[in-house]
Symmetry: C2
Subunit: 480 residues, 2 copies
């Protein structure tokens, strides 16, 4: 670690990355390489002797970048966005520069304290109840991903109930969610040893735009209790992965509460929109909730990874996840004077991730962040209008945020045929490299997802993407 | 995301970080702030309007850095090191610049393929058996931390055995390790629902320098089997946290294998040393092992986080951790043509972490990396000699790598008094801000740990640190 070499090479790398962004539209959005391409281009073993930065950067340009799918391209509309920004990038760089491991407060007090403060800021921007602030019994913590967020609260809830009913009752514990819930909850159940037959994915249907009906939850819980099972965890979603459906928190929360269930909300994608007053109503009822999660790395300009989790009762997390070996003991921790985030998460070590979220909030400010969200929603509306004007296509669900779910209509009304048609359209469109979209299934129909949210996307990119979709659709329809 | 703003601000941040390294010796190594210090310095809410980079950097300098414990300081000797290097820093920067989320191969083929290739490189540098290479049934994967590494293999092993004996037998599953094993294994057991009374921390005593005796393992396993329990997981350590003890892999592995147990090796810290031929013998017997873990972010110049995990049977991991929702399906995955690392880890999303390890291996090369390890071990030897020459102190365990365990001898032979004396010595030394060391307990004795491994540490820092220790010890002894 030579500071002058860091300076010299660091400047070169900054220029390399700035040039990458200048040229990003020249790459195919979805990488077009074949499986195993890179092994043919790199040696079998690590070099014995050092190589130059120039050699490495040339390899990045010629060998790595062709294998990258460019999530930051303005023509990226797949999955959900994964935002990068100047502020987020600077925060990551500073975190890598300081390179400390913040498992306990003492290992860098600023890392723990800035995280507490910045998550309080964000909680206030979302108008979350005061119980979620770090000044009370709850607080926020940055997890790597929404998967880790739902896992840690599931474990806290599991151990809470097992302390009450005895640990041998794990086979009786039941988890509820809608069938639109992200697969990470199912994975969390597998990890936590919840029996697969006690994982209830309740059907959410098109009549409610794929939101879970409180009656459905209520019936399932009553039925399970009648058979001696123990409902203990319910997860609702604000902005489901497939179609950004919004579960009704207030009504669902009352059911969860009256049945002593832990109520978690996954707002990984759509939580960001709730900093705008006109979208805040989607989380009405959040007062009923035990834990709330929103990914700042999706649609909030904070480079991956930064998943904000708030809980009302931090002691539940700590009881499940704490360790206290001698070699980590220190005065501040032993005196209960501080938060040690190691006890709120799966790993021991943790990076200084609050820096990037702090920089995003300070370098942009809440008003610009609101404008940023609104702009993407306007662009999604534009795309929706373009689709609606073309009778060969249909809009499948009501657009709420910046995702449009649509499909190409088949010439014959045969669903298998329709599914194949849209599957093929996805394939040819992504193969052009001009844009990248992804898909889902809704009520057994193959649906195309157009998710606006890359920071560089402008109106012209929406229009160009739509043109590609129309052209490829025309070619396909003429062939069938 | 404006590429010219990224260039301008990026250069400023590089200079800020280079200046930080130039001045790093001027900071107290261990932050001297009091709990809650930062809340007094920052506002209660996020700003509505954007602020300037100059304002933010000024706050970093004046408010954040005083709360940082400087892991990169040459006077940092606590815990284990967490290396930063120019190459590791550049890799982090490039990863943040590209900012893609590599859960599946298709989301950036280069991210998955470079990880496979680079972990093959590292496996070869460590002379791991070929079964750990990605070209067979096994392979390597980068986890965030050793905690996640041990958790995923524990889950794979748990589900393997439960498929055989039925999932209701979870209360019969037994995990073994020595009482010197890192606390992350105990946490993994808690997470995975292993009953606490079935977690066996077997006593490792000073006669073997805290290595686990094969007889002890063998007896415990036999006893449990006789009572109808099911031994299924054993973890050995190469370089324990307290004293870098080395468990004998070959003998222990034969016991694990003959009892159908999953055998995991935690070489988080000392694995790095095994790239040197003269230290490779410490992992003799690794052929018996099912999974092997080494943290490149500790002592291998790769910025945090980068924990390399190799398994012989990747299908075990995948069976436990895979999800396959419609919205993530794609041709390459469905055709089984590729590795999707989402199924080897807890989270769904993942960063492009192989870039930094690749850059470390290329910009330094294996010979320089070996020299780097040897230099730290020489510096630890120097410190050991200095301690040995001072009759007021004693060396407590045989030094194997770059950690020296020692203590100040009490004037009266009273262990409580000795413990308090060393506790106080730690406290006063760390309060000087001139160095940072940590402690442990070995056979109920309070021991000081001096871990060499920060990249900037030179002989003069060892000598200066020893001088502070001697001076503070003299003052303390005169008071008692």
């Amino acid at each position: 670690m030579d500071s002058e070499q860091l300076r010299e090479y660091g400047h070169k790398m900054v220029d390399f990355i700035a040039d990458y962004y200048n040229n990003i539209e020249n790459f195919p959005v979805l990488s077009q390489v074949q499986p195993g391409y890179l092994r043919k281009l790199l040696p079998d073993t690590a070099p014995a002797h050092s190589e130059t930065l120039e050699d490495v950067l040339e390899d990045v340009q010629k060998k790595i970048l062709p294998g990258v799918t460019h999530w930051q391209s303005p023509d990226y509309f797949a999955y959900f966005p994964s935002n990068s920004s100047v502020a987020g990038f600077l925060g990551e760089m500073l975190s890598a520069g300081i390179n400390m491991v913040g498992f306990s407060w003492i290992t860098s007090p600023a890392a723990t304290e800035l995280e507490m403060i910045v998550l309080d800021w964000l909680a206030k921007a979302l108008k979350l109840p005061d119980e979620f602030l770090s000044t009370g019994q709850g607080g926020g913590v940055i997890q790597g991903t929404a998967s880790e967020a739902v896992l840690v609260v599931l474990l806290a809830a599991r151990d809470n109930v097992l302390r009450r009913v005895g640990k041998d009752a794990i086979d009786k514990l039941v988890v509820y969610c809608s069938d639109q819930t992200h697969c990470s909850l199912q994975k969390a159940c597998q990890i936590g040893g919840i029996h697969p037959e006690n994982f209830r994915m309740l059907k959410a249907d098109p009549s409610s735009d794929y939101a879970l009906s409180p009656d459905t939850l209520s019936e399932a819980v009553s039925h399970d209790m009648a058979t001696g099972l123990i409902p203990f965890f319910f997860c609702a979603t604000i902005g489901t992965t497939s179609s950004t459906a919004v579960d009704p928190l207030l009504a669902l929360g009352k059911i969860a509460k009256s049945n002593n269930m832990w109520f978690h909300v996954d707002a990984a994608y759509a939580g960001s929109a709730c900093i705008c007053p006109e979208y805040r109503h989607y989380i009405n009822g959040v007062e009923e909730v035990d834990s709330f999660n929103m990914n700042a790395h999706k649609w909030f300009l904070t480079n991956f990874d930064c998943s904000a989790l708030w809980v009302k009762d931090r002691s539940a997390l700590i009881q499940s996840l704490s360790t206290n070996p001698e070699y980590l003991k220190n005065k501040a921790s032993q005196g209960n004077l501080v938060v040690d985030y190691k006890d709120w998460q799966i790993p021991l070590g943790r990076r200084f991730r609050s820096l990037k979220l702090w920089m995003v909030l300070r370098l942009y400010g809440l008003e610009k962040l609101q404008a940023y969200i609104r702009n993407h929603i306007e662009l999604a509306k534009l795309f929706e209008e373009l689709v609606a004007q073309d009778q060969r296509f249909e809009i499948v669900t009501t657009r709420k945020f910046s995702l449009v779910c649509f499909r190409l209509l088949p010439l014959q009304s045969n669903e298998d045929y329709a599914n194949k048609l849209n599957h093929d359209l996805l394939d040819v469109v992504n193969s052009t490299g001009k844009l990248f979209i992804s898909h889902t299934l809704l009520s057994d129909r193959y649906i195309l997802r157009f998710a606006v949210g890359a920071p560089l996307t402008e109106e012209k990119h929406i229009i160009a993407a739509w043109k590609v979709l129309q052209d490829e659709a025309a070619t396909l329809l003429s062939k069938y």
